[in-house]
Amino acid sequence: MEFLLHRYRNLTVLLLVIIAQLLLLAYQVRGNQEARLIRIWAVTGVMPLAHALESLRAGTVGFIGNYVALVNVRQENAILKKEVGRLKLENHYLKSELGTAERGKALGVFQQTSQSRTIAARIIGTGSGSNSKVVFVDRGSASGVQRGMAVITQDGIVGKVLAAYPTASQVVLITDATFACGVVSQKNRVLGTLKGQGHSITSVDHVQNEEKVEVGEWFFTSGDDRVFPKGLPVGQVKIARQGKLLQEIYLAPSGLEQGLEEVLIVLEGMHQPVPDGPQQPQALHLLPAPPQEPGQEPDANRRGLTTDADRLIERYRRIGAAQKHTFGEGAPGTRPPDFNVNPDAAAHAAPTRTPVPPPKP
């Protein structure tokens, strides 16, 4: 026996090491437990190096950026001082305007949008292995991060915390083959299960063929998984087709479209309703239309009326004003205003037509 072991020493070591790892695998898979100690050693050993590299990179980029910014700084400073003076005056005016007109609106928006308690984190590394769809963030259990917490960006969900270590956390991305969460479609409230595919597209499973899902439709988190708060955007449907039993639906995840650098970890989630309107990838701020020049004819396009529907509404409003008719008033059967008159001519002629009361039965 000893002779055999000595003669086949290499093969024996190979078998022993493989059997040991198979037992370790079986322990983890069957008991659904993990050898956490080994992971802590590895993460604690490698992640500080990745963190140092990232700090070095950010510092170097910042230093070079600052150096480049110093060129022509004196000239820019003089221009900016003038600009600041002008902006201060404008700011006083805008503050008073905002305080009166926008306060109520802003408050309403704030009340409608519930806020989850989150913590910002920076991506400091990816998972090892070419098939891996996990990343490491620089916030760990010391910052209150726990396993199972949702990770999001302003554009959508990103993943969930797979393991929280003291100084870093491992986040499994929604594109990972093991990822799943509950989702609901925006239009018809079709419930499904989002699953990662191991590449950039995710699928929505468990949707019956009879249920209606359209290409371009948005999916949001349903909150059923108890990980993601309800109402967070997930992605837009790219492919939706009938399958043998269930539909085949593929989404482009919106949270990963802009790349990952900084994310939010949801410490305390707040469910919010799934929005009814079309989902905008990013809020677009539009300035109000510029004031009308004195003596200039009112132009529909200058007031921001760009579609035929807008122009039609404006025409009806002017027709109503010319005929002293208030839309939305009057019982059914009352005589409507004459929509065939030219509103400009009618306004100059000062018509006195009034709605005729309905005939009494």
Partner: protein
């Protein structure tokens, strides 16, 4: 370089190799894993550069000792597993086999030849990816895709990287 300078350089290398080679055996895989963890943040396509595998192959070929290759591959694979979402042992088993076969091959071939190194780099990458896929399906029940064409292409890329990398590790 003069004869005196060459002797001094050889003497320095000989003196340094006493502690440097073991240190390099630790530092190289750490650097390889760090590369694999950090660099793909900025260059996504470099995910498919399996530097820990190449380092395992290199040191297994160099030491020509299968037992050493087994243990070396197992440790690097387990560290890789610790930084992935999979259970510990997946990369460990695959790299254990890679380490064993690489060390066994080195006994029979001239592994200093760049062409042989290129072929070995290609073969072991393909073996690594295929065996990982088999294990993921058989042991974890994961339905991973195995795209042969893509794997062959990445195998060629890894083989192309392994030749200068091995040369660099020879020199330092």
């Amino acid at each position: 370089m003069t004869l005196l300078g060459e002797r001094a350089w050889k003497g320095y290398r000989h003196e340094r190799s006493g502690w440097w080679r073991p240190a390099l055996m630790v530092l190289a895989p750490v650097a390889a894993i760090l590369f694999q963890v950090y660099i793909p943040l900025f260059f996504r396509h470099l995910t498919y550069l399996e530097l820990p595998l190449l380092v395992t192959v290199y040191f297994s070929l160099k030491r020509r000792n299968p037992t050493h290759g087994v243990l070396y591959g197992a440790v690097i694979g387990l560290v890789q597993d610790s930084l992935s979402s999979n259970p510990l042992g997946m990369h460990g088993i695959v790299k254990t086999l890679v380490g064993y076969f690489a060390a066994s091959v080195s006994v029979r071939f001239d592994v200093e030849n760049p062409l042989i190194r290129f072929l070995l780099g290609f073969f072991f990458f393909f073996f690594h990816q295929f065996f990982y896929w088999v294990l993921a399906r058989a042991l974890l029940g994961q339905e991973l895709e195995f795209v042969v064409g893509q794997t062959l292409l990445f195998g060629l890329l890894n083989a192309a990287v392994c030749v200068p990398l091995f040369l660099l590790l020879d020199k330092i």
